[in-house]
Point group: D2
Chain length 383, copies 4
């Protein structure tokens, strides 16, 4: 089987997530990085490409160049999809231009800076008929997939409550003024868009809440806040959620919870039981039942009780911890499956976070900002 050919926009030196994407793409050996525009500085881009062993002819000084020149290469040579790992403000123009030229797109979240941009993107996608997916990392964890499957199976009954919290502490200080490049663009409205913590981690939490519960948020009431003086964007936020079936939820995110690493935890409760997953121990899933008994389901490709689709996402038997990179690699593997399916004339249906998720996520950000701006008025999600 031929490897799927990938190009990358962003991910030069000093970037965090770019190397994670590349490691994820390499892990299963069915994707090949063939081109890149790793930086707006052509020297940096070439240096990154050289370190990665890329053909210098396929390393570009700008994403526009990459798209234009790759499009002119023979079909069996040129990249098939572009992975977008730039700061937020470039997600939209790159994705739009790439799809217009016929490239599939795998993009970092949030999909765009505004809901309007995302709708434009959805139109392009519909017109061009390509694969588009977001790297909503947590949907790549096998037990998150299992959690959703169990909820959809009715294991915990009708959903009545969702509780989700995502806490980080790395923005507790004004690190954006101390040379931290990750912090610089994330706290800058020009590059991050109108939301800070809400766009950076809130959209992950929201996405996970809808994915695991199998329900969509109808409306929300939110408060956004910047705890650190002088910060233009929110660094903490919370929301009350009302789901389409009447279930209630709370969502709480923070990047100023000093000392917290990357603490994401979701609990979904139905009228028959509950299900809890925490990023701190991603290889365990906790199921609670009304009679007080509880079960721990463990990840592993040998675990009989898991849904087959879950087992397929595990590379090792139970007891061999898998983590963040493997979750990411699962998203890449599913996207490669989609690209091949479409090339073969079939429908792409492997990736868990597609344009629908993109629109939902941008609607969420939009509603959070509207509700908070209006003094905690309820805002409907518009999709």
């Amino acid at each position: 089987m031929n490897r799927v050919r990938m190009g990358m926009a962003g991910g030069g030196e000093g970037a965090f997530i770019g190397e994670i994407h590349r490691a994820a793409a390499r892990l299963d050996g069915d994707i090949e990085l063939v081109s890149g525009a790793f930086s707006s500085d052509p020297t940096v881009s070439q240096r990154t490409g050289a370190a990665l062993g890329l053909n210098p002819d396929r390393v570009y000084g700008s994403w526009r160049d990459m798209l234009a020149r790759e499009a002119k290469l023979p079909e069996e040579v040129r990249m098939e999809f572009v992975a977008i790992v730039t700061p937020n403000h470039l997600h939209f123009p790159i994705a739009q231009a790439a799809m217009e030229l016929g490239f599939h797109v795998l993009s970092e979240k949030p999909a765009t800076c505004t809901l309007a941009e995302c709708r434009t993107l959805a139109d392009v996608l519909t017109r061009r008929g390509l694969c588009y997916a977001l790297t909503h990392t947590y949907l790549g964890y096998p037990l998150v997939v299992e959690a959703r499957a169990r909820v959809l199976d009715g294991d915990i009954g009708n959903i009545r409550r969702v509780s989700i919290e995502y806490s980080q502490g790395w923005l507790s200080d004004q690190v954006e003024n101390e040379g931290n490049r990750q912090a610089q663009w994330r706290t800058d409205p020009q590059r991050a868009g109108p939301a800070g913590s809400v766009g950076d981690i809130g959209v992950h939490a929201f996405n996970l809440a809808e994915y695991v519960s199998g329900r969509e948020v109808a409306e929300l009431c939110a408060v956004l806040d910047a705890a650190v003086a002088g910060r233009a964007l929110d660094d903490q936020a919370a929301a009350f959620l009302r789901f389409d079936n009447g279930a209630r939820g709370t969502l709480s995110v923070s990047q100023i919870s000093a000392g917290e690493e990357n603490a994401l935890r979701i609990g979904v409760y139905g009228d028959r039981g509950g299900i809890i997953w925490s990023h701190r121990e991603p290889n365990s899933l906790c199921l609670l039942y009304l009679d007080g008994s509880s079960r721990t389901v463990r990840a592993g490709n040998n675990v009989a009780e898991l849904h087959p689709a879950t087992r397929a996402l595990c590379r090792t038997p139970a007891g061999h911890p898998e983590g963040f990179i493997e979750a990411f690699a699962n998203l890449y593997r599913m996207f490669a499956t989609d690209v091949r399916a479409m090339a073969g004339g079939s429908a792409a249906q492997a990736s868990p976070a597609t344009m629908r998720s993109a629109l939902r996520g941008m609607s969420f950000i939009d509603a959070m900002i509207r509700s908070s701006g209006a003094g905690q008025r309820w805002a409907a999600l518009q999709t």
Copy 2:
């Protein structure tokens, strides 16, 4: 040293918390239960008293009887304080009547059904000069005391964020219609007062948030909801909090998180670090620091790094789990200390939850109901 003499209102057969109070009062051997009005049914009351080995003359058929007749006993014989463990609607009249007759009062939470009642009670207390305290259980855990001490010491810097969640699942079904007496009165506005989960566990969460953070909530924005059809009172609720120093917080409570037992967890974050305590493992306290390092502080009367006041609340060395009853017993021990202090002419200052906590708690409940009733308008806490 003479034992402090205690009477009890409520706590007859079928009650949960009454026996916990009695065990707590017995544990350290410095309190003696001498009288009781355990039930409004005199037969039940006598049967409970007999099982406890009480003198039948000191077992009464109503709390009014108990107060009236105990008041006529010689000073060195009659009960010194009354422990109120009835359903909520009786907290106020019993406490009021008891104090008017000169008895100290140790009451279950919430202090009263309404803020107005609580203010009345505060006036009586001021006029009569007695000991009044609430059994806010969690304030009896040594590491909760330690958490507050460390926060007040400035260990984690200026407080910026408080996150508190208290989840139970026992009201997931309509157990109030299936003979569960605990559920019956807690879901009945006549006996529980105007709040359900907010009055039953929300006030614990609020109290803990203010106690550990050392800050007071200035205003809140809340949503109350009854997930189970036909329920008159809230069984889940959430609030955004704004503290007097500008810190933000989220509070989330539920009694319909199917499968959850009694899951209370608090995180307080300052600009230098964070502190986390969870009821699931009450003998550990987690401290997080900005540099990513973390420490686990353990309970134990031999643990050198604990504040002396914390060590004094531990009955065993580290590694010997202490729990709910010991925490309760600490509240009883502190109340007995207060009663003795006042008898000796000194100020009572041992109990952590006094009339100030009662007023704060009722203000919280009042604000929660007002904010939710007004469609998530911010409500100030009035004390």
Copy 3:
């Protein structure tokens, strides 16, 4: 119901375990401490008794006095049983003398200093027909009782393997030379007997292994060691175990595992599954099955899946941590039940650790010393 009357030998100022025994005896309100010989120093004994509110006439300057004089009191006044909480070397003479005078005995472990003494004690007990039990604390934890019940029910099949480890760190330094009274007698062969860590905690581990597995150790191969220079008794030890059904086991104890508190953990494995209990989280029991699934059973008087006998040992619903003192109190409660049963002419069968356990424990210690002394030769347990 009248309270069972208890006397205490040992447990004066500076003792750790005496106050735990007293708190445990008080907790349920069905035992009354009426007499004590708390110290070999009469002044200390009186001071302790006064602090406990005892009648000074019932506080004695020596255990011999206590036994002799209590025996002369009217039957309905005198103590019914004596709790022995002295250093090890006094367990035997006090228990022997007490039983000869007709008192029931509840003793700290180890039962005696030598197996021969224990056999003598067993003869006295047979002759006198009294209640005798050991306070093997861990057998008072509800989920340890549940673990045994599930094993005996065949839940995990035929037992093939037992792994037990008990680690402490408090003897890492020569604290016996720095005024630590607990350490002084425990490291002194004259008062502790011929075993150090083996007699202090090894016998707990052994007792728990036999209790939970429902099997008896047939023979063992052991190594005892004193890690701290100048120490006459072992402060760490390990053994290979062979059970009566051929199952194998390992037992490892240490009092020089620097930083460990009181870390006791047992795993029992059959041909169908395994069961794990750890003192660090005593309110959870972990069941593992061959197919890789696992269940967490939680303590609580409302937990339907627990055996009724287990539920009866829980004072609170699930989610309210119970601990060391409650476990101890369960042993006291069961002993009181035995005393009452025998007084009523019935058989005493509530206490989990009786003379049989005493003989097993002393046989264990005897075999550990013989095996280690003979250079790791296998030694049979003689009972």
Copy 4:
């Protein structure tokens, strides 16, 4: 930088560890799989190679063929090292033949079937001057590296005690008779060598004990046992350890602990503190101190308190779980570093488990078998 060229012996369809090795080799992008003899069945070998996208000319029907034919390729084309992932009995002949032909060797453990074979291998290595390393997986975990570094720094003082347990349950049934290929060769003395659980996981435990403690085992006293009827090799074993500095230890391994996954845990205790690492949560390291305080050190490339060498083994910031494959990839990365260093004329010193570890491991297995066979006589490790 050119990729290091790798060949693989073993790892065809149905193998577990072969794909882990390949994923590990791919993860960082600096190693390229260029050749393979994946199976003794040439059809299977070609099919595996095709699935991996290998040039069919570089896929061989036997390891002998691979070695012979690769050796004739131009230096800049042929594989530089061979990864040996076959059943145990082939480790020795392949490694020997490979080194004689000038190929570096990265081998699965145990290095050989007997100590004598390993000594022969050591002689070949000395004569040929190549890189040789074992994939002792657990030494690839960043916090295992950190644990050793802290112990060597003297953080916990002089080592006095090591406790190590490695429990699995997958051989609880006679799965070797039910078509489980992993079990078939591991329970067959012809393919596994003279040790079962001791060779499969015991040697991991032993290796970890010496690595973390920084001490070597001088002698041991062991018992090996086959719990499952009809099994020719041990499926559980235990040992008392005596280290070169007089420290004591216990080692316990089992493959019949029904329900256990892959539970490896080590505790090392010195006279100033202890250090605990568990495979279940590999991204946390627990440090215990004599005063009862404890610290949790977390993995992450941003964690300031980690040794630089530890940080270099982390691919993500704290809070992003890394696991088994990343640990394996660290071993591959270090081996590639060694291969490059040697090619550049420098010393190879990155890999943590070299020929010295191989000899130690085989001495351990040899001593375990001798001690157990002699009825628990102490056996010295001969290296």
